[in-house]
Every structure is written in C-alpha cells, then in structure tokens.
C-alpha cells in the first residue's frame, strides 16, 4: 500500500483525495478500509456473477453446479446473498460488500421481487436511523446501506421491458441506480448506440431517477466534463469474463468466439473498465455521499414525519422505540 505522499497529480475529485486531507488521516483511512456496498440486480444469464468475479479479479461467486435436471428449472424465490472482498485501488483500501439477488425475475410471476428489494434497502436505512437515535451509540456500527445498485438490462435491442421499468421506477428513490447492459457483446456497435439511446429515452419518459453523475462542484471543469461524458455512456455496456490468457506476458481477459476475440478491458469492446473506475475510484465518494445526504435524508424525513404510506410498509420496532427513547 502506498504511504501518503500528498504529491500525486492524477487525483480523483473526491472528499477522500489526499490533497485535501493531511497525510496521517489518509493513512488511517487507507489502513482501515473504506466500506462500499453494491447491490447487483438482474435476471439470471445477464452476467451478474461474471461481472462481480471480473470486478474483483477472483472467483467470488462460483457457478452453482446443479447436477440434477429436476432441480434446474424450479423457480427459486429471490434471495439476498452477501459477499465481502477487500480491494486495493490506487493505494486506497476498499471493503467491497456485495449483495447479489439470484432468483430476481426468473420465475413466472415476478411481482414480489420489487417489494422484497425495496424492503431490503429500507431495512438498511432503518438500522442507521435506529442507531442515530440511540442514547449510547455503537462506534463500530456497520453501515450496510447500499451505495450503488447495478441493474442489468437484457440486450434486446428494443426499449425497456416492463420488469426493467418497474424496478427502476420503484427503487430510484432508495438507491443510486446505475443501469448496465449485460452480455453486451451480443450487440454490434451500431445496435449498441441505438439501444443505449432507446433505453435512456425510455428512462426519461418514465421519470426514472438514476445516479446521473451529478455535478457537485460546478467550478471544477474537468469533473463537470467527466460527468457529462459518463452520462453519455449510460447505460454501461458490460462484458464479463473469467478467462485470463497470457498475451505477451500480460494477463488479458477475453472471450473467445470463432469470429474474433472480445477483450473485456478494451474500451472499444466494452465499458467495463470505465464502470469499474467509476465504482471503485472516481465516484466512490459521490455515490456514498448521495446515499447519505440525499437518499437517506429523504427516507428519514418521510419516516419521521409520520408519512403513513412509509410507516405502513415498514414498521420497524427498533426505530419506533429508539425515537421514543
């Protein structure tokens, strides 16, 4: 791990940038590790697991070997599976907590899935709310609020499907949604451009709230330009793969087809690297901040002002008793 030098030039515009803090403070953060919670949502077959394994450069989720045919087609109810990986990004230690949602959208009737995810997100908010209101607080409190929700869209080439619209509409106010096109190597470059346009125009027309790379500091021209570039890339076209080959001694992640080889890290082949940089480097603090300062605050206000629809959905005894205390 790099000891804080304070002299690095390529600094991401982030609150944790070691330009704005003294080096000893940065060392402490760097050693402790920054928690970052990501939820992956999408139907099976769109590459969630592969994306995660590619992101962490290790097999975090192994493909479940269901060997008997009678099990394979049964609609498993959606589950929440947690994984934790320590990452080192440019000298910054990140504790990456992933929540995967296998079973989402895989059944015949998937209407329960949205409510389940919404409840899960709100549960994390509730435990923070309860913690804030305790008389004696836990200094080692584990903040499990989701900082980024990656939603995997199927590369149909058409506009969004009903399940895509419903999910993003309902959860846009509870988490930073970043839409991602899974298996994007099924689209030609021209089709991909058209598909991205269709998806974004659908998102706008349905008033879906995403993490839109908001400009927090209008004076930082580079950051503003970067955000506008990223906005134009949405949704991110992702190809994941776990096969690493050796090309001139360098490990390269590829997918081998009879007609050519897709290089996962090649920006012309996929947006994977860009997305990875956004999540773990350039926008990690923007995502955490928006979760805390905007999404959580909205939820807190709704909850504490006795908004009956919120309370009816989610009566958490811990919160009620904590407020009473």
């Amino acid at each position: 791990m790099k000891e804080g030098s304070g002299e690095d030039q390529n600094v991401a515009p982030s609150m944790y940038s070691h330009v704005s803090r003294p080096s000893s403070h940065r060392n402490k953060n760097a050693r402790k590790g920054l928690p970052f919670n990501v939820m992956l949502v999408g139907e099976s077959g769109l590459g969630r697991k592969t994306f995660l394994n590619t992101l962490c450069e290790s097999t975090v989720i192994t493909a479940s070997e269901v060997t008997n045919a009678e099990q394979a087609h049964i609609a498993e109810p959606m589950q929440f599976k947690n994984y934790t990986v320590e990452m080192d990004e440019d000298g910054m230690k990140i504790i990456l907590n992933i929540v995967d949602t296998p079973g989402f959208g895989d059944g015949i009737d998937n209407e329960q899935c949205f409510m389940q995810i919404q409840e899960h997100l709100e549960l994390q908010f509730d435990s923070v709310l309860a913690e804030e209101n305790r008389i004696k607080r836990n200094t080692k409190f584990n903040d499990s609020r989701i900082h980024a929700l990656l939603y995997f869209i199927s590369p149909t080439g058409h506009s969004l499907r009903e399940i895509d619209i419903e999910l993003m509409k309902r959860l846009g106010s509870r988490a930073n949604i970043i839409p991602v096109i899974g298996r994007s190597d099924s689209l030609t470059p021209r089709e991909l451009v058209l598909f991205k346009q269709r998806v974004m125009s659908d998102i706008v027309s349905h008033n879906i709230s995403l993490f839109n790379f908001p400009d927090l500091n209008d004076e930082d021209e580079d950051a503003v330009e970067e955000n506008s570039e990223l906005r134009a890339m949405l949704p991110f076209a992702v190809v994941g793969c776990e096969e690493v080959i050796n090309e001139d001694g360098r490990p390269v992640r590829v997918r081998n087809y009879p007609w050519g080889v897709v290089q996962v890290d090649n920006d012309e082949h996929s947006d994977f690297d860009r997305l990875r940089y956004v999540l773990l480097n350039s926008h990690i603090s923007d995502l955490r901040d928006r979760t805390q300062n905007e999404l959580y605050e909205i939820y807190r206000t709704e909850k504490l002002s006795g908004n009956t629809s919120v309370l009816a959905n989610n009566t958490s005894q811990a919160v009620i008793s904590a407020i009473g205390a």
Partner: protein, 341 residues
Amino acid sequence: MSAPANDVQDYVGFDTITQQMERKFLKRGFNLNVILVGESGMGKSTLVNSIFASHLIDTQGRRAAQEVIRKTTEIAPVTQMLEENGVRVKLTIVDTPGFGDQCNNEGCWVPVIKYIKDQHAAYLERELKPNRERIIVDTRVHACLYFLNPGSRGLRPLDVEVLKRLTEVTNVIPVIAKSDSMTIEERTAFKRHIKEELAFHRIMLFPYASDDDADDDRVLNASIRELIPFAVVGSEEVIEVEGKLIRGRRHGWGVINIFDETHSDFVHLRNFMLRTHLSDLIEVTSQRHYEQFRTSQLRQIKELRAQQAAAAASGGAPPVPTQAQPQVPISVMQHQPMAQV
C-alpha cells in the same frame, strides 16, 4: 444378326407417378404455417426473415418510449405467397408479441395454445361438413419455433410450462436465436443441460422416432437431435468482407457469417426445416397432432350425444356436462371456439 423379334414390354411405367404427383403439386402449391414463441428481443423476426431470405415480418418489440407495454400475448399472423422454381407456397408466420414480456407471465401461453387448437378445430369442422371442399384450406400450425434465452443455465420455469403444453399440440423446434454472445463451450454446456431437462420432463420434440423410419432417416434424425436446440445467428444485412458479400453481423472484434457452420447452426436449421423435413412437418401435423385432437373431440361429441340420449330416454332434464364441452359442436354448423387449455 437379325433384330430381336420380342415385344414383351416388361416395363409397366407406374414409376412415373412421382412425376405425375409433382405436376399436380406444382399446380396446387401448398400451405406452410409457422408460429414463433418467445419474449420480445430474442431475435424472432430477424431469424424468420433470414430463414426465408425475405423480409416477411417486422419486429413487434417496443422501439419508442411512447409505445405502450403489452399486457397480454397477441396473435399476429402474416401471410405471403412465395415462389421458387415454379413451386408456390402460401406461408403464414404467426408472431406472438407480448409473450413472456410482463412481470407476471402466468398464463401468457393461453392465447398461443388456443390459436393452435382453433386451427385444428377449424380444419375438423371443414372436414366434417357434409359438402366439404375438395381441398380443405390448411391453417394448422406445422411448426413452432420456440426461442430460448441465451445465457440462462437451462430451461427456465416458464419454458418448462410452455414447452409441455406446446409439444402436445404442435411440432416444436427450440432455438437460441441470438447465440453470438455464447462461446462454443457455453453453447455445448447449454445444449447438454437443455437436453437433460427436456428428457426429465418428458417433453417430446420433432422429429419423433417411429418404427417405420428407414435407416438413413434414423441417422439423419439422430444428428438433428444432437444439434437441438439450434444455436443460430440471424441477419437481414448484407456486409462486405474482403471483397465478398455475405449475410452477417459486424462486431468490433470480428464478422459473423450466418452461413458459416463454425459460427452458428443456421444452415442446419434451415436445411432441417425446409430441405429435409418440410414435408414431414406438414405430414406429422396432420397424422399425429391433428389426429390426436380429432380423436379426443369426436370422443367427447360421442359421449355428449350418449348423455343427451340417456337423459331424453329417462325424460329428465338434460344432464350437466361432466367434462369439458367439445370444441367442435355436434351440429358442426357454427364454429364456436372455446378456451380449452
């Protein structure tokens, strides 16, 4: 050497019946009806247009944000006359927009099964008319292309439900249409899982094994079964590669030629459907699926008649039917389709 004085005429000439039949067939033409079942965006219209090498149908998928999301499965048949070397075919492609596209897909197969059964019912009705047509118009579905989702591990719950029902009423051919995002290893593993699952659920696909099969038929059918589900790539676009024009897809990392057997099973699927098993598809529809439908319908009519006769004899009220009403009414005067799924 004198010329032979024999005039035995051993050659009779009945082998010319094949040419006579061909001439009749050429004059008459034939009907081919294919139904496409799969979620939107699976590549249904592109594949069908590629197989028949002409733009037969437009995609029914949502393109613009203003387009409304379909709430049910619609049935959208499109009929065209195609001709090749004097042979005319009246081709009907039945698309099923909305199938599998909702959050809750319970029952999305009902309109599809109903449509297929309605065609059997319509044919039966025409056949049973006292003054029936010399050649009965055949709208029965001869083949169903069922589109699987690439990337899934195997059959999804919806696939199992729908395939069980579809295979009872028509010839089903499962395909993966957008297989250009699957590597060869992934395809092989996927096909293996699908075959295991189909066998477990006792889902019977075309071509069906029959004791009458000649040896070379058996060999061909075995090789077809090996390939199922067909992993294909369709394209209506013609692109240039090294001076040659091919039908394919141009990716950033290479060009797919849909006719290249190392790239996809497209050629095998097309040959199977049109060049080797076309007449089988039509014949098996008539001899197996239609016959099953016909037998069960006529049996129901017979039982209903018996019940009514018994009620009339005993002087009581007409009996409440103990089972589903037959789809073709006894009088066969008016066709009243009833949902029977």
